[in-house]
Amino acid sequence: MDNPLLVLMLVALTVTLLLLIWRRVRDGTTLGLRPLPAYEALRRQPAYMVETGRRFHMTPGRADLHTPQAPASVAGLGALGELAQESGPSPVVTVGAPTLLPAAQGAVLRSYEASGRVAEARPGDTHFLAARDFPLVYGAGAGVLIGQPEVGGNVALGHIGPEMVLLAEAGQRQDVEQILGSDDPGAMAVSTVFTPHAVWGEELFAARAYLDESPLQLASLRTQDVLRWLVAAGILIAAALRLLGLVG
């Protein structure tokens, strides 16, 4: 790591902010969430599945848990856990990385345990389709599963690259509601074409805050917002200083 001191300072700043905001939320301060159409649609998914008896397809993408892209897929797993808890029939889950398979199976199983319906969970419906080096093979395989008549919704939130086109196209063909988000700018652009419920940028990491609304998740989201304003202010100040010729 190039600059350990900088990393430690960043970690300390983030932890301090997170703890301060978390304490305030637990003490009763209300943090309003700005409306995000994608997460409002995501909240509707379980009720729709219960009403229709159909299942939703969900993927956290294809980031192995020991890789730098893992947080995006972990965020997707969090959303999967929250959705499965309220959903009727067990979801169809596809993953494009082997370490995500037990993680996703565990998320489904724990959600059903938490809601006292462990017998209804079908962790066997979590499919590992291809290793992370073969995104299009994964996308083609997931597309076939999304095309099953029993699938009534498509939720793709995680580390997803060019295969987003195949996932989204399959969902569009099936004419189901889609909530699509990724940490890849190209996949984000693709999501916008296929659904009005695209999740952009850091919104991907806000899924649990919107679904769970626990003090920790809300505090984490607000910390992210504060950091974003700090970064934006830093960029503006640096640009102004450079414009004035005060820095090289």
């Binding site: 983030t14 965020a75 969090g78 299009l136 990491f205 992210q224």
Partner: protein, 202 residues
């Protein structure tokens, strides 16, 4: 029992996470060792994943699913070739299958992505005739045309426009998005490190 079920995985995860972070900052050998363990576990997970895939398709074969049968036969063929390669009976059999089947199929699929996008853009235009949808469709068409081989005179006209779009509009936008994503990754990683977020236990 509950403490074992919830506390133990959390304690292991937090200690491993903090040790890796400390290793990355001050003890590189420690983080390398931990990452090697993680890579080994990922390899074991890959074997488990392949067995899961095989089990699912074996069940489907019982329902006379022809695609599952082809997949199983393909798996067995590649596994057989790997064994004969290792025994020296064949030379680079797995590589040959990979280069003659997998690579062309992936390339063909990749070349179709642009057209999936184009049709998606057209459907977006049909669904909502907004200025943004029109702009998106226009951008797809422009980049499809401008990336194809063009006469030199046309290329001279198109090239500065393409560079302007890339350098002034696309690159800053992408950087902004990536900054936001990085902040999200930082906060989520710290929640994981502190054991506040536990994707491995309830």
């Amino acid at each position: 029992m509950n403490i074992l079920k919830r506390g133990l995985p959390t304690a292991i995860a937090v200690i491993a996470g903090l040790a890796t972070l400390a290793g990355l900052l001050v003890f590189p050998d420690l983080s390398t060792l931990l990452l090697e363990w993680a890579a080994f576990l990922a390899a074991v997970a890959l074997v488990a994943g392949i067995l899961n895939l095989l089990a699912i398709h074996l069940r489907r074969t019982a329902g006379r699913n022809i695609y599952s049968l082809v997949l199983i036969l393909g798996m067995l063929l590649v596994f057989g070739l790997a064994v004969t390669d290792a025994l020296g009976l064949t030379e680079d059999g797995v590589g040959t299958v990979f280069n003659t089947v997998q690579v062309p199929l992936e390339a063909a699929l990749a070349s179709l992505l642009a057209f999936f996008l184009l049709f998606g853009g057209i459907r977006l235009w049909q669904r909502q005739r907004s200025g943004w949808a029109f702009l998106f469709l226009l951008a797809i068409l422009f980049f499809l045309v401008s990336q194809s081989p063009l006469p030199a005179s046309v290329e001279e006209l198109v090239s500065p426009v393409r560079s302007f779009i890339y350098d002034v509009l696309v690159t800053p936008g992408v950087r902004g998005l990536l900054l936001g994503i990085s902040l999200g990754i930082i906060t989520l990683s710290l929640r994981l490190l502190a054991g506040l977020e536990r994707p491995y236990s309830s």
